[in-house]
């Protein structure tokens, strides 16, 4: 690298900068810098004439690097780098000195401001003096996507992407697609049947030529980076060949093992061999390895004997497949906050106290009670039902600080559904306040109160316990200030939504961040709500935060659109400001390998080697390496060394 | 008070030429003293050049002592100071002190055949001898110049060498053949063997990479040159140039004082520590 020929361009920003900073002095001081061969000021550097002046100066003075002293790089770094590129030199040789936000706008004294602007500019000049001309790294793209989670979010995203021509691998850890939506009976605000709208989509997914559905599978390991991920997927054995299984149900008839049915949230039982729902996709049975009397050494073998289609194969083993994809959508959904955590409501041990999903199953035509609302303890029709909102939500002291957003709505739905099922029953709803933002939502709640006659009580339930075959509910109506006591037949808790266990697991495997509540963290809460921090990994559905179906579907579509846009390019470009190893200094201690958050470094023949596509240029390696053997291009230790000097001169 | 031997004189760069491109580029610089008073030197002597803020380095004076207006240096870009030198422009001011070291006994060689064998940047230290001899052409008999570089791009003093033709026998070579190169292909020592310069009444002066020097000397001996007829220069790390900083010694002698010019006869008697 020979000595740089740097041009410095100082912007007045109208009077924004010039009011505090003596721009001419900055120009003069910069011209005293060893590498500076040209310097000027201009009233609006970012304007067309300003930019053209830069181009002209670059050409006239054979500049090979540029410093623009102006506003924050977040505003115009791209502008000026593009401009520099237009002038024929690498955009990465251009540095921004932020003398507006970090100087002119925060200081009034002109001398002081000018002094600081000089330091900031000088520091940028020093950095530019050692910038390498870099070109973005081109990364070839694999035009396939992996979707993790087969709830409505995953299903919608898969369909959208597949329809746009991308190959999709949809990975679901459970035995069927559908997620929580498949458990719902009717959905607010229109009260259409959940399965009715979901099942066709599930079928479409399963038949789509571009979608490979992998149920009962788990993603174990993901390596690579945007454009080129490699996923190791574990296929758990179902011991039933879906191709052969004709869902005759003969096997369950003979299976001697009875276990609680998790799909019915324990409201019913199932056998060791089972199908989650009638509408399950794939339409095939699954043998629960844990529950089965034992595949080894002596198997009971009854189901296999019973299966005429010969679909059962006890020798199935877990299998791992490796899929290469260019992008990943994470749609791993939510779980309900555990009832066991709620002390005041009996830790989930009080009979006939249900959670919302259980109630959905009670209402569902395909559910445990075939759509009859019967209380679990004695299968009688409950006459007094208490619905409690905000259980676990909005309680920073003990539970979740956030609002689960959907509970107001589904409680109203539940009260309505109940009244539809048991018109002479009484529905009490305890609420703190009602959040019914959304199209048709407020009207829905009003209907619940007014038309369906649900009794809304504002207040908290302080305690509930089993009493005389009923559930005693003690609470206060804060509007009247009176204590309320209800002997309920059944209580339905609107438990908070929390990120699913699968979400935590996926975040770990993908090495993507989660927020303080454990939901997947978006790259930017407003501007990049469907992207994770890691390039090429997108978020959809309740895994990112509590939301209802319309919102979930919208976000899934958005994620799909992002992926489609991303993978429509033949190659991706990656910032070239990545780490570089000075081989002669590296001793192969692997400290950088441990420190790198992106797993971008590995050792080869005792020396560190950086995967430039994975490296995000964070510099954690630089600060960790004792020998300065690894540093980020254009943010080298030498550059910082000289910038420190510039700041203190 | 004794004169300050560490205080460089200031000199202005008046001419820069890029000799060889690439990572280990070579540039030729001419400098003229700022305050008139410069030193006189002899063929083979060196000077300490300074780029202030970067440091000093020892460089052979590549111009003939007969040239009084300027001193010429050809510098390879290898490290801190040399790289800084390469960044300088005509008009820039550097520091210079010297001359240091002994010199080629050119006057003793009058009336003899002179054979110069250089490789790479090793042409610079012997260039003043070549140009001095050529300038006093009638004092010497045959003048032969062997010079080789890695590739045609690596040949320094290209046009100057061409100008020597007619006055001297010039045998150029490159290590590896390339289109448009019609002179010798192969290493310098081989070229010497190929052309078989005669040892009769001759002096051979060689300078270049250590490995080249080794084989050139071997070959010269084979051609019948006596140890006293072969001269070369040594290069050891130096800081003061005055025999005090203690690092360039080979045995009892400091190369900066007793060297850098040695006959093979002398060198053979020194411990092998260079």
């Amino acid at each position: 690298m020979t000595k740089k020929r740097t041009g410095v361009f100082v912007c007045h920003c109208g009077n924004n900068i010039a009011a505090t900073v003596d721009v001419a002095r900055v120009v003069k001081e910069m011209s005293a810098e060893e590498t500076v061969v040209y310097s000027q000021d201009y009233v609006y550097m970012c304007s067309d004439p300003g930019q053209n002046a830069v181009i002209q100066a670059i050409k006239d003075n054979q500049l090979d690097s540029v410093v623009v002293s102006c506003c924050s790089p977040s505003l115009h770094e791209k502008t000026f780098r593009d401009n520099t590129t237009r002038a024929g030199i690498s955009g990465f040789t251009c540095e921004i000195a932020n003398i507006r936000e970090q100087c002119a706008w925060v200081h009034k004294d002109r001398d002081v401001g000018t002094e600081k602007a000089i330091k900031i500019s000088r520091s940028a000049v020093r950095r530019a003096g050692r910038n390498q001309s870099l070109e973005p790294i081109a990364v070839p793209v694999t035009r396939r996507v992996m979707v993790i989670g087969g709830g409505i979010a995953g299903i919608q995203a898969s369909l959208d992407m597949a329809n746009a021509g991308l190959e999709v691998i949809l990975v679901e850890r459970q035995a069927t697609l559908g997620g929580h939506m498949l458990q719902l009976s009717e959905t607010f605000p229109t009260l259409d049947c959940s399965q009715c709208i979901l099942s066709p989509k599930m079928v479409e997914v399963s038949r789509h030529p571009k979608i490979k559905v992998m149920t009962y599978c788990e993603v174990q390991e993901v390596s690579g980076s945007v454009g080129n991920f490699k996923a190791k997927i574990l296929k758990k054995p179902t011991f039933v060949d879906p191709e052969k299984c004709n869902i005759c149900d003969d096997c369950t008839q003979v299976c001697p093992v009875v276990v609680p049915n998790e799909y019915e949230l324990g409201l019913t039982a199932r056998r060791a061999i089972y199908i989650p729902y009638a509408q399950a996709i794939p339409a095939s049975y699954t043998l629960d390895e844990e529950a089965c009397l034992g595949l080894n050494p002596i198997r009971c073998g009854k189901c296999k004997d019973a299966c005429e289609a010969d679909a059962i194969n006890y020798d199935m083993r877990p299998e791992t497949v490796v899929e290469e994809v260019g992008a990943i959508v994470v749609a791993t959904g939510f779980d309900l906050y555990p009832q066991e955590n709620i002390a005041e409501y009996g830790y989930g041990k009080v009979e006939d106290v249900l959670d919302g999903l259980q109630f959905e199953r009670l209402c569902s035509a395909s559910g445990a009670t075939s759509g009859h609302v019967l209380r679990p303890s004695d299968h009688k029709v409950p006459k007094d039902v208490v619905f409690i909102q905000c259980v676990g939500s909005r309680d920073p002291a003990q539970h979740c600080a956030y609002c689960s957003k959907i509970c107001c709505m589904y409680t109203a739905k539940h009260a309505t559904l109940y009244k539809h099922h048991v018109p002479d029953g009484r529905a009490y709803v305890f609420y703190i306040d009602i959040r019914s933002g959304g199209k048709g939502y407020e009207e829905f709640v009003q209907r619940t109160m007014e038309e369906d006659g649900a009794i809304y009580l504002r207040g908290r339930v302080s305690k509930l316990y089993r009493h005389n075959g009923k559930v005693k509910v003690l609470g206060t109506d804060t509007l009247t200030g009176q204590n309320v006591e209800i002997d309920a037949d059944m209580v339905v808790l609107a438990l908070a939504m929390q990120p699913s266990k699968g979400t935590a697991q996926a975040a770990k495997v993908l090495k993507i961040g989660r927020d303080k509540d454990g939901f997947l963290a978006e790259a930017h809460p407003k501007l990049r709500p469907v992207e994770s921090v890691t390039a090429g990994i997108f978020l959809a559905g309740a895994a990112q935060g509590p939301k209802d179906i319309p919102e979930t579907v919208a976000q899934a579509g958005a994620a799909a659109a992002k992926v489609i846009a991303l993978l429509s390019q033949a190659t991706l470009s990656h910032a070239p400001t990545v780490a570089r190893v000075r081989r002669s200094h590296c001793t192969g201690c692997e400290m950088c390998v441990t420190a790198c958050p992106y797993h971008a470094i590995r050792l080869e023949n005792g020396k560190a080697v950086v995967n430039e596509v994975l490296c995000e240029g964070c510099g954690s390696c630089t600060a960790t390496c004792l020998r300065a053997a690894i540093e980020v291009k254009n943010a080298t230790q030498m550059q910082v060394f000289e910038m420190i000097e510039a700041c203190l001169a | 008070m004794p004169a300050n031997i560490y205080l460089p004189e200031l000199a202005r760069i008046t001419f820069i030429k890029e000799e060889v491109p690439g990572e280990r580029a070579i540039k030729t610089f001419r400098v003229e003293p700022l305050n008139g008073g410069s030193f006189e030197h002899e063929c083979g002597q060196c000077a300490m050049l300074s780029v202030f803020g970067r440091g000093e380095m020892m460089i052979s004076i590549a111009s003939s002592p007969l040239v009084k207006d300027y001193k010429q240096f050809s510098i390879m870009r290898v490290g801190r100071v040399s790289a800084a030198f390469h960044d300088l422009a005509v008009g820039d001011v550097v520091g210079i002190r010297g001359p240091y070291g002994n010199s080629f006994p050119v006057d003793d060689w009058r009336g003899r055949n002179l054979c110069f064998i250089g490789g790479g940047s090793g042409l610079a230290p012997i260039w003043p001898v070549i140009t001095t001899a050529v300038a006093q052409r009638d004092l010497f008999k045959n003048i032969t110049v062997f010079y080789g570089g890695r590739s045609p791009r690596d040949i320094m003093y290209k046009s100057e060498l061409e100008k020597l033709r007619g006055v001297a026998d010039v045998h150029l070579s490159v290590d590896k053949a390339e289109d448009g190169w019609d002179a010798y292909c192969g290493f310098v020592p081989a070229n010497v063997m190929d052309k078989e310069p005669s040892p009769d009444n001759a002096i051979a002066v060689t300078c270049g990479p250590p490995i080249m020097i080794k084989y050139v000397i071997q070959n010269l001996s084979q051609l019948g040159f006596a140890d006293e007829q072969i001269y070369t220069t040594l290069e050891n790390k130096m800081k003061c140039g005055l025999g005090k900083c203690g690092r360039c010694n080979v045995g009892k002698d400091y190369v900066c004082v007793k060297g850098p010019v040695y006959s093979w006869a002398q060198l053979k008697n020194l411990p092998e520590e260079y």
Binding site: C618, A623, V640, E645 | -
Partner: protein, 143 residues
């Protein structure tokens, strides 16, 4: 003017690009005034700040060194700030043990949304540095 009032501590502020630098921008956008003592150097991540940068800044005459990054958990590079926290803790302890005023090295978490906080951090730092006077313990004493 007494000497103490005239003394303006020199601060080098290493700001991570994603949060603290953006936070300082927000201070600017909000026109929050704060002392000009701290000259910012933007680094990719607080995790990239080598202890040598800090020592070097002191060696070159900084009266105080400020390091600022994203809040824990918010690091743009996932965990760079965790690594920084550990390293900076160590060097801070070391400086203190040698007898350098611990107030000369300050670390803060400033998010992109905390313009006011950035201004406050600088204000507080300057205020805390003033009574300490010029830093000459690690400053180059080569003349």
């Amino acid at each position: 003017m007494s000497e103490e009032q005239a003394y303006e501590p020199k601060i080098v502020a290493f700001l991570c690009k994603w949060c603290s630098s953006a936070g300082s921008d927000l201070a600017g956008v909000s026109r929050i005034q704060y002392p000009a003592n701290a000259t910012p150097i933007t680094v990719p991540c607080s995790g990239s700040i080598s202890p040598l940068y800090i020592l070097s800044a002191f060696n070159k005459g900084a009266d105080g060194v400020l390091l600022s990054g994203c809040h824990i958990g918010d690091c743009h590079y996932i965990e760079g700030n965790y690594l920084a926290r550990r390293k900076i803790y160590l060097i801070k302890e070391l400086l203190e043990m040698v007898g350098v005023e611990p107030d000369r090295l300050r670390m803060s978490w400033v998010s992109a949304a905390e313009g006011a906080k950035y201004a406050q951090v600088v204000k507080d730092f300057v205020a805390d540095l003033k009574p300490l006077g010029p830093q000459d313990k690690l400053k180059a004493d080569r003349t």
